[in-house]
Symmetry: D2
Subunit: 348 residues, 4 copies
C-alpha cells in the first residue's frame, strides 16, 4: 500500500513516519512539508537517519493522487479542513490527525474551536477513529478522524461505565496530566520555563471535552457533560487521565473487573492493570511510553461512593500516530497489530 | 531563642535547619540523629557547608532541656508519639512535623494510620499548625503540629468556600500532584524508575484526607467528606492541588475574588493568582519553589457548575519546614515573616 | 533457537527480554531470578505485560541444559564467574553481560575490580563482544562477553584514530556522561537526590578504563593509557562520550570523514553524524534512545590541534542488551539486524 | 543606594531583581524593558509577586541619571556596547552582565564574537568582575564586567594551578556541562526537544574560551590555550566544569589541598569539597543551586599524571547575577556577603 503523509515535520507527523518506516505492509511514497520541502527527512527527524532516504516535498494534489492510496494528514487544527476535503474528493483514503473532522455537529466547532466549519457536509463522512468503539465503521470508511490524545485516553476508561449506566453523569471529572510533546513542535515552551512545572491549562472548556462528550453522549443516548481539567507535567510523552466518578449504586470490585474484561478482554491494545502489590498497581504512562497501549485500572473509594478510573497512554502513539496506524490496518484489512507490536520502552 | 531539632537527617529536618541557620532571631543549639551522631551536619546536608559547624548528637532529654527553648521534631510518623510527650512533660515548646499529633480524635489514628494512639490525652494539647486558620491558638500553644503538605495546600484553598457554604460538600475532589521529596529521604524510589512517572498512589484513603476532613468539618460544623487522589510527578519539590468543587448556587468571578481577598488579603504567605494573559495564569509550584507561599487561583466551569480551585506550594516549605518556622515565629512573638522572606527561585 | 536468561530481574535483563519477546528467530524458554522465582515476568517488568506469560524460575543447570541452546547471563559483576563457567562446561553458548569475562589478563581483575579471577584459564575462551571489531571471532565463539556501556561507546569512537596512528596516545581524555539506568536496578540513588545532578563519579580509575585500554592497546600494538572520567546526568538512558584527543599531525575534516566511512560505512548500527546546520549537528543520546545505534561525529579545534570525537549510545541497547542480541545474531547465523530494527524513540 | 536594571526581562535580569528586592542596602528605582514597558514586573517574573510593585519602563538616560547611582545592564551580547558607554559618560557606576566589556583586547571581539568593537577605548576602563582575582580593582572601578558563567567556574578552578606553574599548559581541557537557563530567555529550545539531551554545542571555539584564556594568560605571563567543550544537559540551573589537566611534576594530594586553601581559604563564596565517603565527594551543581558558591574539588589520576579539577556553580548566581551583586557590594563598600547569604536549595 502506498502511503503519503501531509505535514510530516511535526511531532505527530514524525511519529507516523517512525511507525511507517518499519511497517511490514506499506511503502511511504510522498511526504510533504512546506517549510522543509527539498530537505531529507532525517534533517528534521534525526532518529530516522538510516531508515529512509526520502525528502520532503510540497503538497501537490495531482502527484499525491498518483502516488498514494492512503494519506495521513498531520497539519495544525484549522488547516486540515481544505486538505482533507480535496483529498476526499479525489477518492483518496484519509486518516486525519487534526481535530477538523472529529466532531459530528458543526455547531461544536463554534463552541469548542471558535470558528465555523467550512465544510459541514463532510463531517458525516468522517468516522471517529477509536477502533475499540467503531471498528466496523472504520473498516469501510474513506475518512477516519483520529481522536485527541486526552480524549481517547479518557473515553476508553469511561465508556464501559456509561454503557452500563453505573455512574452519576452530573459529576464526571477528568483530571488529565500530559507531557510536553502534546503541545506540538511549533508551540512548545522553552525548557527552562517548562521543566518542573505542574501547570494547569484550560481547567475549564478544554477542546477535547467536546470529543469526550460527543462519544459518551452517543453511548448514553443522552447529553453527557464532562468536567475536564488538563495539566502540563514534566515528561515529554505520556498522559494519565484520573477519571473521578461517583457510583449510582454500590458495585464491588469483582463485578467491575468483569465489566472491563467484557469490554476489552479481546482488545490487543488495552491492558487492564490490577495488582495489589509491587511496582505497577495503577496505570502510569511511564510503563506505556513507545507503545500503542492504553492501560486502564481503577480504585474504589467507598467512603465517598467514588470510583476512580485511571487510564494511561503515550500521547504520540495511542493518542495520535499509533491510533492512526491501527486505523489504517483496519481500513486496509491488515492484521490490526501490524507495525505496532512495540513493547513499552522501560525504563526511559 | 535556643532551638533543637530532633531527627534532622531527613529532607524535612534538613530544610528546617536550612531556614534556621539564616533566621535572625534564633540559635541552633542541638541537632539529633541516631544514625549520624557525631558527624558534621554538612556531611548529610552538603548545602549547609559553611553555614554551621554543628555535629549531630544522640537524643538526650536532659541535655535538650538544658540547651533548648523550643524543639522541632522531624521524625517519621509513629515515632514522634513518645518523643513529643517526653519533651512536653519537660515544659519545652514543640513544633512537631510528623502526623502524630495532627488529628484531634484518637479514633482517626485507627482509621487513617492503622495504629492506636498511645497518648490520646495529649491530642487536645496540640494545635493544628496553619496560622492562617489558628493564629491565636498557636500564639499560646506549647505544642503545635504542622499539617501534611498536601493537606495544608488543599485546606487553604477550600476553607473560604466551606466557610461561606458555597459548594456541594458531597462532591469535593482533591486531585493532588506532588514531587519526590514528599516521600521522605528514607523511602524514595530509585531515579530510573521514578523519573518520568505520572503515578497514582493511594487514589483513595490517603492519610492526608483525615486532616483535611477534620479542618473543613470544623469550619462547616458538620462532617465533610473529601475525595482525595494524589499522584507522583517528576519534580523534586512542589505540590499542586486541583480542587474540583460544584457550586450550590451561581456565583460570579468577581464575588469569588472578593471572598478570597477577604479571607487572605492580609496574609503574607498567601498569594492570589489572577491573570487572564501571560505566563502565570494559574498557580504552579514551578513559581513557588524555595518560598513559603501558597498560591491560590481558580477557574469557573459554567457548563458544569464547577469551580476549580487551584493551590500550589513547596512541600518542604509551606508544606513542612516553612510552616514550622512560621509557627515558631508566632509562638515566640517574632515577626511572622522572620527568616522566611524568600522569593521563589525561578527558573529552577 | 531456545534462549535462557539468567538474572533477568534487573534493567539489563529486562531489556534483553524486551528484545527477545519480539525477536523473529528465537523462543525464550527459561528465565531465572532468585528473588522473584515463581512470579510472572510482568510483575517485575510491567512493560512486558501482554508479551509473555513466562514466570521466573530458580537457576537449575540441568533444566537449563535441556531447555536452552544459548543463555544470556545478566547478573552483577563477580557473581557471573561461576555461572558462566558451569554453563560453558555444559557446552551451552553464553553471552555474558557482566564484566567477569571481558578482560583477557587476569591481573587486570586485581587492578580494576580488586579481586582475583577464580577461573583465569577461561578468560582466553571469551571473545570481547564488539561485532564491529571482532565479528569473525564472535561467529565461532561459545562465550562472548559484552562490553561495558561507556567502554563500547568510547572504543568505537577512538579505534579508527588509533588504527591509523593519528593521535597523541599520552593525552586521550574520555569525558563520559551517563543516565541513571546505568547504575543497575539494585543500586540507584533515590529520585530526589539524583534528579538534577551533574555528578562526577570515579573521575579517575573507573573500571571501564581497563576495557578501553585493552581494546585500544591491542589495535595499537602497544600499551595505551586512557584518562576517563564519567559523570551522572539527569537522563534515564543514554551515554555521551566526549573523547578529547590531540592530533600528531594536521589532518583535515574531509580526510577524517573518509577514514570513519572506511571504518564504519558498512556497519548497520553505526551512524556518522555530520551536519553543519540544524538540530542534530553532533551525536546526542536524545536521538538514540531505544535503538541499537552508536552515533559518531567530531569537531576539529585547530587552535589547540585538538580533535573531539563524540559518540552516543543507549546504555541499555548498544551498551548492553542490544549488543548482546547483535552478538547472538552473529553466533547463530541470523541476520545481524534481526530483532534490532528499532528506530530511536523521539522525542521522549 | 539607588539601583537601576537595564534589560530586566530575561533570566539574568530577573535573577538580579530577585537578589535586589531582598538586599538590605539598596533600593531599586528603575527597571527597563523595551518589550514590557508599562507592565508590572511580576507579570514577567511571577516569583517576584509580593516583593515589588515596580513596573518596567523604557530606557531613558536622563531619568536614569537622576534616579540611579548604579546600573546593572543585562542585555544581549552586542547591544550593551552603546548603553554601557552612554551610562559611563554620565558618570554612573555600571555592572555589565553581557560580554561586551569583558575582553581587554579589541581583536578578541573579532575572533570570538565576529564583530568589531565600536568603543575599543572603553575596554581598558572595564574591570573583569571576579572578586577572588581582582577585588582591589573592583573597589575603585566605575565599570565592572561580569564574567561568563562557564568562564568564571573554570577560571576559579584553574587559576591556582597556573599561578604555581604546576600543569602542562598545552593540554588543558575544560569539559563543561550546563543547564537550559544558560541559553537566555529569548533563545531556549522547546522542552520536548531539550529534555533528556546530553548535547555537545560548540565543542571547539566557544566564546567563553576567550575569557578564560585572557585571565589565565595574565596570571601565567604567557599565552595560555584552553581546549573547551560545553554540553547542554537536563537541568535548568547549574554548571559543572570538569577541568582535565596534566601535571608537570608529581605533586601529592595534601600539597594540592594546601595550595587551594591558600588561594581560597578566606573566600566566602568558594567552598573546597573533600570527602572520601558519603554523598558529596565532588562538586555537583545539585548542591549549589540558588547560592553564590563556587564549589571546587579534585581527583588525582596517577596512572596518567592527570589532575581533574572539578568546579560547580549556579549559572544565574555566581555565573551571573550573584557575581554582579558581589561586585556591587565591593564597589559600594557593603559587606561582600550582603544580600547573598543564601544556602543552596536542596533537594530541588
Amino acid at each position: 500500500m502506498k502511503i503519503g503523509v501531509v505535514g510530516a515535520s511535526g511531532y505527530v507527523g514524525g511519529e507516523t513516519l517512525r511507525l511507517l518506516v518499519n511497517h511490514p505492509e506499506v511503502e511511504i511514497t510522498m511526504v510533504t512539508s512546506r517549510q522543509h520541502a527539498g530537505e531529507y527527512i532525517h534533517r528534521v527527524h534525526p532518529s530516522l537517519k538510516g531508515f529512509t532516504d526520502l525528502t520532503f516535498s510540497e503538497l501537490d494534489y495531482d502527484k499525491m493522487s498518483d502516488k498514494c492510496d492512503l494519506v495521513f494528514t498531520a497539519v495544525p487544527h484549522g488547516t486540515a479542513t481544505e486538505i482533507v476535503k480535496t483529498l476526499y474528493d479525489r477518492d483518496i483514503k484519509i486518516i486525519d490527525l487534526s481535530a477538523d473532522y472529529r466532531l459530528h455537529d458543526p455547531k461544536d466547532y463554534d463552541k469548542w474551536y471558535g470558528w465555523k466549519h467550512p465544510h459541514p457536509d463532510y463531517l458525516p463522512k468522517s468516522v471517529f477513529g477509536i477502533p475499540e468503539m467503531h471498528r466496523e465503521q472504520i473498516k469501510n470508511a474513506q475518512l477516519v478522524s483520529c481522536p485527541g490524545c486526552m480524549a481517547v485516553t479518557s473515553i476508553l476508561a469511561l465508556a464501559p461505565l456509561i454503557r452500563n449506566d453505573l455512574i452519576d453523569t452530573e459529576h464526571i471529572i477528568v483530571d488529565a496530566k500530559i507531557g510536553s510533546s502534546g503541545a506540538g513542535s511549533g508551540s512548545g515552551t522553552a525548557h527552562a520555563m517548562r521543566a518542573g512545572v505542574i501547570r494547569p491549562y484550560k481547567p475549564a472548556k478544554h477542546r477535547h471535552t467536546g470529543e469526550i462528550e460527543q462519544e459518551l453522549s452517543e453511548i448514553a443516548g443522552k447529553k453527557i457533560h464532562i468536567s475536564m481539567s488538563p495539566h502540563a507535567v514534566d515528561v515529554v510523552r505520556g498522559i494519565l487521565c484520573t477519571n473521578h466518578t461517583f457510583m449510582k449504586n454500590h458495585i464491588d470490585e469483582k463485578e467491575l473487573w468483569k465489566l472491563y474484561r467484557q469490554a476489552y478482554g479481546e482488545e490487543k491494545f488495552i491492558r487492564l492493570i490490577r495488582d495489589k502489590n509491587g511496582l505497577y498497581k495503577f496505570p502510569d504512562p511511564k510503563f506505556i511510553v513507545g507503545s500503542n497501549f492504553c492501560d486502564i485500572g481503577f480504585e474504589l473509594d467507598e467512603d465517598n461512593n467514588r470510583l476512580i478510573i485511571l487510564s494511561a497512554s503515550d500521547n504520540l502513539m495511542k493518542g495520535a500516530a499509533g491510533s492512526a496506524i491501527q486505523n489504517m490496518n483496519i481500513m486496509a484489512g491488515f492484521d490490526e497489530m501490524a507495525g505496532l507490536k512495540y513493547t513499552p520502552l522501560t525504563p526511559v
